[in-house]
Symmetry: C2
Subunit: 646 residues, 2 copies
């Protein structure tokens, strides 16, 4: 239902919430009009006249009350000439004509993130440039400003060409909109277009508001006591090494608390008894991982509930992802009934430290560290773990959320925030269920959060749907909102594990045996918003002592084509001492004298700064690359790949 609201009613409504509108006055049919704001426009307000301009019912550029009276008379004449009979129920509105750049503010009700404010350039360009800021209703002053500044058009607010500082007034305008929308929960859509940027700040000169008959209030959902375990059970522990249940049991074995294995066949596994059913387990269970066929799962969870279980991880597949929505809904209802936290179904499991708790069936060897990874794709997670193992990256938590039927990103961010072992969080997101709750969790979280979102394009939305059944929203809105709340959105998957280590990098130094590739790398580094460190006179002096006369005396440090490993070593030893350098890229190109194998050996050593080798070329670099990989050193064979992680 669209509001059948006249322009004056709308201005009344907006003004009542302190949203600035132009000076205006509603004028009765018989009234002798008088206003004190010029130039003004006069328009009829009558349900009988829909297309005002066509009926000659709009008069512009009125500069005196005499002209106003004449304009009113002329409008009445024009409209009646079209055969419309006016009476005392019809009114007029006089509005001051304001000038300024046209901006746009609006509101949509997103299925994932709820009511969200949009900001951009007014008029046709909003559509053309898609330069839109997205602002949550819960965003505070700083978050609102961050969201506004995410647009290019926001530069107009920062004394652009001497037009004055309007950022504070724009933030204030958005805060009033937030209050307005919250105070009127039936508003389902809104367009303020244009909002004029005048020397006196922002003024909404036209508005359209859509109301919904029934606004739905969401029920709050409360979680707690995540994975605070003393007693753990593996349901479906198997004696056959080729089975998932065997891997689950084997990984769980290092758990320091009480550990129970359950398998209907009974017997023994890894020196522990195999209980034939959950009721046979002596005492209660805090946490259980379930790797048995789908049809037995509901009964098993009922039995676990009787054992006061708090957390279950369901690795088994066969639910929403193969179309069994009903089965998944039963599962959700069951865990809700017993207030159980569930991860999965259709997942690889949950890990919180090899000696703490490893309820996964992953094969890779995981090192302990401060990074927590939560992934909606098991395959992506497995590939990341594999890469991390090869590069010596360690983890505090690994969570494969699978179909995300219960615990979701909002819950898990909340959980990870409260665990001191976790220092940084990386999320691989396909679809988001409770967007508002996720943003709230991100705002509360003091740890850096890195996020990759798949399903940006239309075609891939279809792919994601067939994969886990979650719908993806508008990527730009998603990115705007989660960045506004404080996430760092990365644009390639590998950055989820490598970027947290490199998050403080601001200035880079390049050591190279060729100028061309260094120039290209410089472009890529700047594309990523980082800078090249500028060599001081003292830096140049110390490098001059070891480098050939014709080195360019600047960063990139080109140590010239005939450089061998010895010169690379001397240069790195000096460069690692430069205080302003946060990362050193080492480019090796295949030249006549290049001893790439020896250079690779050198690069396996420890340096004071992160050193990233880039071995350009094919066959002549393959030994060196192999050697570095074996020693868990991150190495690249393209310039672009090496900066994608920044």
């Amino acid at each position: 239902m669209e509001a059948k609201m006249t322009e004056s009613k709308l201005y009344d409504l907006l003004s009542a919430h302190s949203i600035p509108v132009p000076p205006y006055k509603s004028i009765g049919f018989q009234e002798n009009p008088s206003i004190d704001f010029f130039p003004a426009a006069l328009k009829i307000e009558s349900p009988k006249v829909v297309h005002k301009s066509e009926y000659g019912a709009v008069k512009l550029n009125i500069t005196s009350n005499e002209q106003l009276a004449a304009a009113k008379a002329e409008i009445i004449k024009n409209v009646e000439a079209k055969g419309v009979k006016l009476d005392d129920s019809d009114r007029f509105i006089a509005v001051k004509m304001c000038r300024g750049e046209e901006l746009y503010f609006g509101m949509v009700n997103d299925p994932v993130f709820g009511k969200t404010i949009l900001f951009g350039k007014g008029g046709v360009l909003l559509e053309l440039y898609k330069d839109v800021g997205y602002i949550s209703l819960e965003a505070d002053k700083e978050e609102v400003e961050r969201a506004l500044r995410a647009t290019k058009i926001s530069k107009l607010l920062d004394n652009f060409r001497g037009m004055g500082d309007h950022m504070a007034s724009a933030v204030n305008f958005v805060q009033k909109l937030q209050k307005f929308i919250k105070a009127n929960p039936k508003i389902s859509e809104m367009d303020l277009n244009p909002v004029l940027l005048t020397s006196d700040g922002l003024i909404a000169v036209d508005a359209r508001v859509l109301f919904e008959a029934n606004a739905v209030q969401k029920a709050a959902r409360k979680r707690s006591n995540f994975f605070d375990n003393k007693k753990v059970a593996v349901i479906g522990a198997s004696t056959e090494p080729s089975k998932v249940g065997y891997a689950l049991a084997k990984n769980a074995l290092s758990f320091k608390g009480e550990l129970y294995f359950v398998n209907a066949k009974g017997g023994e596994l890894m020196g522990k008894p195999l209980y034939k059913s959950v009721p046979e387990i002596p005492g209660d269970v805090d946490t259980a991982v379930i790797g048995i066929p789908g049809k037995f799962i509901l009964d098993t969870i009922e039995q676990l509930a009787a054992k006061k279980v708090k957390n279950v991880i369901v690795t088994s597949a066969g639910f929403k992802e193969v179309g069994d929505l009903e089965g998944e809904e039963k599962l959700i209802a069951l865990v809700n009934k017993h207030n159980i936290n569930m991860i999965g179904p259709n997942c690889l499991g949950y890990y919180m430290g090899a000696s703490s708790l490893n309820l996964t069936f992953g094969t890779g060897n995981v090192k302990d560290g401060g990074l927590a990874v939560v992934s909606q794709s098991g395959a992506v997670l497995a590939a990341l773990m594999d890469k991390a193992a090869q590069s010596g990256i360690g983890f505090s938590h690994i969570v494969s959320v699978g179909n995300m039927a219960d615990l979701d990103f909002a819950d898990l961010v909340e959980m990870l925030e409260s665990d001191p072992k976790c220092k940084m969080i990386s999320l691989y997101v396909e679809g988001m269920n409770r967007g508002e709750e996720f943003l709230a969790a991100v705002r509360k979280c003091k740890k850096p959060i890195y996020l990759f979102k798949s399903g940006r394009s239309e075609a891939s939305k279809a792919a994601a749907f067939s994969h886990t059944g979650n719908l993806s929203g508008n990527y730009e809105m998603f990115k705007g909102l989660v960045e506004g709340a404080g996430c760092t959105v990365v644009d390639n998957i590998e950055a989820l594990i490598f970027r947290p280590d490199l998050s403080n990098v601001k200035q880079a130094l390049i050591v190279t045996n060729a100028g061309g590739p260094a120039s290209v790398l410089t472009d890529y580094i700047e594309d990523r918003g980082k800078k090249l460190y500028k060599l001081s006179d003292a830096d140049i002096k110390v490098l001059d002592a070891i480098l050939p006369f014709n080195w360019p005396k600047a960063n990139p440090v080109d140590i010239i084509g005939d450089a061998q490993s010895g010169l690379y070593r001397k240069t790195l030893e000096i460069a690692q001492e430069f205080a302003g350098v946060d990362i050193i890229y080492v480019i090796v190109t295949p030249q006549f004298m290049t001893d790439s194998d020896n250079i690779a050996v050198l690069l396996t050593e420890k340096f004071k700064k992160p050193v990233i080798p880039i071995m350009l070329g094919g066959g002549s670099m393959s030994n060196g690359i192999k050697l570095l990989k074996e020693k868990n050193i991150l190495v690249f064979d393209t310039l672009k790949g090496a900066t994608d992680l920044l």
Copy 2:
């Protein structure tokens, strides 16, 4: 010198070249004004009144000749009230007030590309969005339209929201500007801002033109007879295998014509006599490669000129790149004097087929093929050759242009266009000397040209300068102009060798053992402007017969996590027959059952379509990746890397 041109003079000038301006009329001081276009604006035109608005010397919204007369009287009153005495030398201009979207057209005189027309949104947004089209004065109708369409704002010209089709009129407007600028060679800068997009087409309502006292006419330069060789000399051929001169001689040895080696020491090399100097060579020389110290080069070229040499390749360094501008200028003057084509100095050499002519000191083994590569960086070229050798890519020509003191990109494109062995051209560009000539060569060239440009960012411009001494221009302008002329600009170096093979790819199919990475790959493929092939019902039926029941029946073809090499094989055998598929990506993720080594073996086989393996993960994929690389199969370990080449 800025034109001291009144508005009416400017309108006279533009109208004289058929560039549309609004209806206007110049009015004398004593004249009783009469016009037939309304609404109009009236302004004074007097050198005594610079800031018209402040003097009350502009009147808007004039709707009748009575109002016009009154406005004129009021302006005179206002100006004289400010103490300015007007007389018969002062005039007025009446201009019709037009409405429409504000566009921008301008012209700059670029040091590389010469006079270039710019197009964008008028007003403050040009600066904010940097959405600018660049148009060469020599661009024909199609090229003009392509350049306009490269901007987002050009959508306004395509019946945007029912605003009418204005593309043809915009192209026509630019063609008139081209003629106008050519007819007035002293114009050095121009701003038409705004140009209004009205229902009647484009109208220039304000203009500023800058004139230069002395316009310079460039001398034309003519090249011919590139590398049409029968007699070749290697100057500096060396008997020491560690020397460049040895590699040059060895590579040259396969030349089928007459081949002479020169070395001051004399003796013999590879069964051929070593002449002690150029004059000792029996008979004439067409082409010589020179790998001797810089100080001997000028004399050597003089001696070669006496032998009627047509082409020289100077691999020796020590010129502009180490600051010896004078030495390089002498070299240029010398080859110009004798009308010799020169490649270099400071380069890796020139190759036109192993059995035709290989005057390089590269070490890699080069396969014959249809791709010509021209590179301004020797190191980048060496790395590309190395990668190409590893992936079985073949070349018709390899040119390392070094300092590009003589033959440049314009010459080489012209040369390659005329050689039928070359089917596609790839250029690695750091800086461009003769931009207009390059664009002309590209326009004439019928072969696809791929181009990578380094030195996009400010910092890297400095790096490029210290490297080869060439200046880089504005990257956006460069990209706009060369794309307009017909190049494909690629954004990573590797694409220079891989993309030419993949240039006809429109639709991709993905075969995967996991949905998540396939969804991400889909995003990247769409980012590159390519599409996923849509499976037909028949396709689905034939795949259904071999795939697990729960495959998603769509592309990406997810053959499910437990897939092994046998299922990959069957799927590929079927998928390669789908007519609409141009390329097949194969994703392998490390899952419980994945036999990645066997899958790699399978992927070394020949398929009817290009098959690109993506082996995701670290250690568990390293054997497979190694195997594929050994067999010259292009393989990736990241999703992004695999699509960067599209």
